[in-house]
């Protein structure tokens, strides 16, 4: 009974922590909005506006109020789902972001599946064969993944695999020909094309997705491999591994039934964080592949100083990371009886 009360207390504490973190995040985005050299009034009224118009807009934006009052207004806006209008498109920012987000989620999800799918087994293999040839091979591969700039590998891969060999699709989410053929219901092209039953579009989308997702996946697998290897080495040195061997378990059984289940928690955490940074925007890959996603959206708005858009993007990235952290906390409790 006391343990249950304790975990209730833990959950309440966790919610409190999340609220405080969110508030901090909002303070941060608010400060970014005020501190940036871009003048929000100028952006609306334009360069030729009279002093009167300028003043009027200045007041209507609430910029003549004390800062803390402005923050309260901002807080209220965010809570009611009003993130402001994009200067560039004239549309509500949130609508623009909802439009670009699926492209990035699609890319990031495939990338992390590839990254974890390669990275985790490679890390385990390397740890089990420490200092023997499989370990060396894995370490060289992951070093490459780490150190090759992704925009460079992206371009080389495009030149070789698309332009020369024609094995995969080029830039964009699908072939030019198919654009606009499929109605946008979810924004996820793979799902939309299946929903409309248009398999040509689906295969074109897969063809376009496979290369950027593999490159991103390879680059995050480098990190996942290294971490998996060191987590596994930690566990393989533990005494309970000897116990398992003494019982007569084979190497394979010892690794998967004893060592590996002990690193699940740590693995979930690093994979979640890697996924988070992919969602935040694989800006370089999105640029090289003309992928109309979140990373591109954020960068282009930063450059032109569309502050409503930038603030909202930062907020979303923050929320994604808070959510992923929460997820890994929950999984901790699931995987490790000591934390229950």
């Amino acid at each position: 009974m006391s343990t249950r009360r304790l975990s209730m207390h833990g959950a309440a504490g966790q919610i409190g922590t999340i609220l405080v973190t969110l508030l901090g995040l909002l303070v941060l985005t608010f400060i970014i909005g005020r501190m940036m050299p871009a003048d929000p009034v100028r952006a609306i009224v334009g360069e030729d506006a009279t002093r009167e118009t300028y003043e009027q807009v200045f007041r209507s934006l609430g910029l003549d109020r004390p800062v803390w009052e402005q923050f309260i207004y901002y807080l209220g806006d965010v809570l009611t789902g009003n993130f402001g209008t994009s200067i560039r498109t004239g549309q509500p920012v949130i609508q623009d972001i909802l439009h670009v987000m699926p492209a990035t989620i699609e890319l990031a999800t495939f990338a992390i599946l590839i990254g974890a799918g390669i990275g985790v087994p490679m890390g385990v293999i390397a740890a089990v064969n420490k200092d023997r040839w499989p370990d060396h091979v894995v370490r060289v591969l992951s070093l490459f993944g780490h150190s090759m700039p992704i925009f460079w590998t992206g371009m080389i891969a495009l030149i070789v695999l698309y332009a020369k060999l024609g094995l995969v699709g080029g830039s964009g989410r699908m072939d030019q020909f198919y654009i606009g053929l499929v109605p946008e219901t979810t924004g996820f092209l793979l799902i939309d094309s299946l929903l409309s039953g248009d398999l040509d579009v689906f295969w074109s989308a897969v063809n376009h997705l496979i290369l950027p997702a593999s490159l991103l996946g390879y680059s995050s697998s480098a990190y996942i491999t290294r971490m998996t290897r060191s987590f596994m080495l930690d566990q393989l040195g533990q005494e309970y591994i000897t116990t398992a061997r003494v019982k007569g378990l084979s190497k394979h059984q010892t690794i998967w039934r004893h060592a590996f289940i002990n690193i699940r928690v740590q693995l979930v955490t690093i994979v979640a964080l890697a996924y988070g940074s992919l969602l935040e925007g694989a800006v370089l890959i999105e640029t090289v592949f003309a992928w109309p996603g979140f990373g591109q959206y954020l960068t282009s708005n930063l450059i032109i100083g569309d502050m409503n858009a930038v603030m909202t993007c930062v907020l979303i990235v923050g929320v994604i990371f808070i959510a992923l952290n929460l997820l890994s906390d929950v999984l901790y409790r699931l995987f490790d009886p000591r934390t229950r």
């Binding site: 005494e239 000897t242 061997r245 995987f335």
Partner: protein, 279 residues
């Protein structure tokens, strides 16, 4: 006397990358008896235990003989060795805090030994495990079966370890400092449980320890190891009649309740001990 279960002659062990042998020419036999191996840290006593189970992947092991029943332990493949470990010969490790897997239920870990070596259903293995937990004097074994290692005490953890290692009914059990990590108050209790099980089942026990009194009370014979060699072998009851100066030095350094309050004797190590051979 019957043919010994274990027969080891001139065992040498060298760890990978080391320039000298950790164990140098150790010979002993083990029948259905309790054999103590005593020595200080680094004397090679644990290394001998692990070598018998071939648990030292990076070490080079050589011997004139390393026979277990009719099995030549040196020539077994790893796969054949898997059938020996846990089933014919097992080992009780020192500290249950580290030697039990922290995130698996205690009972599953015990039952795993049975599942590994016998064709049976999970339920059958579970029943065996629970019966064995009862045999190591755990009250309410059904409840303990479902607990995790962090939820049980050290003494109980070590009893779980004993249950796990005796479940498949081995012929030889190596106990590597089985009570060093336990509270003094539960040491005797755990040792008695182990001792009773070993005697009832006619298991050959190798008790590795640095505790002379423990070995004197719970073993039939004692090997004294120093710097990778056996310097003396004697019956446990004759420990006081030890001849070797190292053994005599160890005995002299023992504090005694009610004894003189003079400073305890300090070992005066002689270089020639390093090269002496067991008589």
């Amino acid at each position: 006397m019957n043919r010994p279960i274990l027969d080891v002659k001139n065992l040498h062990i060298r760890y990978g990358g080391a320039s000298t042998d950790a164990v140098r020419g150790v010979s002993f036999t083990l029948g259905r008896e309790r054999l103590g191996i005593v020595g200080e840290s680094g004397s090679g006593k644990s290394t001998v235990g692990r070598a018998l189970l071939r648990l030292l992947p990076s070490a080079r092991i050589s011997a004139d003989t390393m026979r277990f029943e009719d099995i030549d332990l040196l020539s077994l493949t790893e796969k054949q060795m898997l059938a020996v470990r846990g089933r014919r010969m097992s080992m009780i490790l020192q500290d249950p805090k580290f030697s039990l897997n922290p995130i698996r239920k205690v009972g599953d870990q015990v039952a795993e030994t049975y599942l590994r070596h016998f064709k049976c259903s999970r339920q059958e293995a579970r029943d065996k495990a629970i019966a064995m937990l009862g045999a190591v004097k755990i009250n309410d074994p059904d409840r303990v079966f479902e607990q995790y290692p962090h939820e049980i005490s050290g003494g109980m953890g070590q009893r779980v370890m004993i249950a796990m290692m005796l479940l498949a009914d081995p012929d030889v059990v190596i106990a590597d400092e089985p009570t060093s990590a336990l509270d003094v108050t539960v040491r005797l209790q755990v040792l008695n449980i182990l001792d009773n099980l070993v005697r009832d089942r006619g298991i050959g026990l190798i008790m590795i320890s640095h505790d002379l009194n423990l070995v004197r009370n719970f073993c039939d014979r004692v090997l004294i190891m120093y710097a990778g060699r056996v310097v003396e072998t004697l019956a446990a009851r004759d420990l006081d009649k030890a001849q070797h100066p190292y053994t005599r030095g160890l005995l002299a350094a023992q504090p005694r309740i009610g004894g003189a309050r003079a400073p305890l004797a300090v070992l005066d190590r002689r270089p020639e001990w390093l090269e002496e051979v067991s008589r």
